[in-house]
Amino acid sequence: MSVTWVMRRSRLSKLVNQPGGVTVSKALAEAAVQTEEFRAEAMGVVAEALDELDAVVAAPPAADGLQGWLERIYFLATRISDTAGPFGYEDLCAAAFSLCELADRQQRGRALDLPPLKVHAASLRLLLAGDQPPAARKAVLAGLSQVVERARKPVD
């Protein structure tokens, strides 16, 4: 087996140390300013994804449409996580991540288990509302973790 090993310094490593530039604190402050205008739009995207998730979960598919249906749920969960993440919605992202895991397991197992999916959809809406105390939010996440743990684990 041939192995080529090349030692090379990236151009990025040279550029980043050039004179001038900014401090980390200034850069992060500026990034916050630059992205804040996206917050309302982000929450709109999340709300739309949640609406669609509710609609999808409310209409489970026939057996031959299961994979595509679960794929859609997985996609919506990643959209929620990806969009809300940069704005600090850690609990919401953790719940969305949990839903990804659940949908992935059901896809691999080729078996529909609707109640855990519904619980996730409802929990996401609860967490988005943001009016729960931290302990309650933590409890919601712990509950979701248990739901996923109990879900059928497909054999890979």
Partner: protein
């Protein structure tokens, strides 16, 4: 293959600990962002603007990105792992074996949840680092500055092309376990722990 979800660990592992007084200069760096989600694409590009990056290429697909990478020098590639059709892993794999000037450009792979079916693909794609969402500005900057210091040599073998996966002097970013200590090495694969996994 174990696939347990670890919500608590995910939130606590690999939290960036950037020194606020560290000075860096990205004003002359050309950065390409590849993401099929238009909102995430714009948001990441805007975050980079805050970091002082002036030249930002935004691409929504493998095809768009690969066309630009053939002819335009890029200093850093930030790629979303999950894209329809040919995904981010495919893009980096292609790039590493392309023979173009950009073939060994530093790559940050951004990943949300990694389906079990793609774990091996993620591990072998050749990215410098896999950054797990949620992608905050602090996490992104921390990983950019880390990858700028990444002095690992580049390996090309019949089965893998990318950075030498053994850390020697630099080590992974603070808070991120080395591979020999992380679940990947023990068969407990969870590439989505916050802070990501060294590739």
């Amino acid at each position: 293959m174990p696939d347990s979800i670890e919500l608590v660990e995910r939130k606590s592992a690999g939290t960036p600990n950037l020194n606020p007084n560290t000075v860096f200069n990205l004003s002359k760096a050309t950065v390409m962002v590849v993401d099929d989600e238009p909102f995430s694409l714009r948001l990441t590009a805007q975050t980079l603007l805050g970091f002082g990056v002036v030249t930002r290429h935004q691409c929504a697909s493998f095809d768009e990105a690969s066309a630009l990478l053939r002819s335009h020098p890029v200093d850093l590639l930030i790629v979303d792992a999950e894209m329809p059709g040919r995904d981010g892993y495919d893009l980096v794999n292609w790039l590493r074996r392309s023979g173009f000037d950009n073939a060994w450009t530093p790559v940050l792979m951004i990943s949300g949840h990694t389906p079990v079916s793609k774990v091996a693909k993620a591990r072998d794609c050749g990215a410098n680092f896999i950054v797990a969402r949620p992608l905050t500005a602090t996490l992104l900057l921390d990983r950019i500055l880390w990858v700028a210091k990444d002095v690992r040599g580049m390996l090309e073998t019949p089965t893998y092309a990318g950075p030498d996966r053994r850390f020697r002097e630099l080590g992974p970013p603070e808070g991120v376990p080395e591979r020999r200590h992380d679940p990947l090495s023990r068969g407990k694969i969870n590439l989505s722990s916050e802070g990501g996994s060294a590739a």
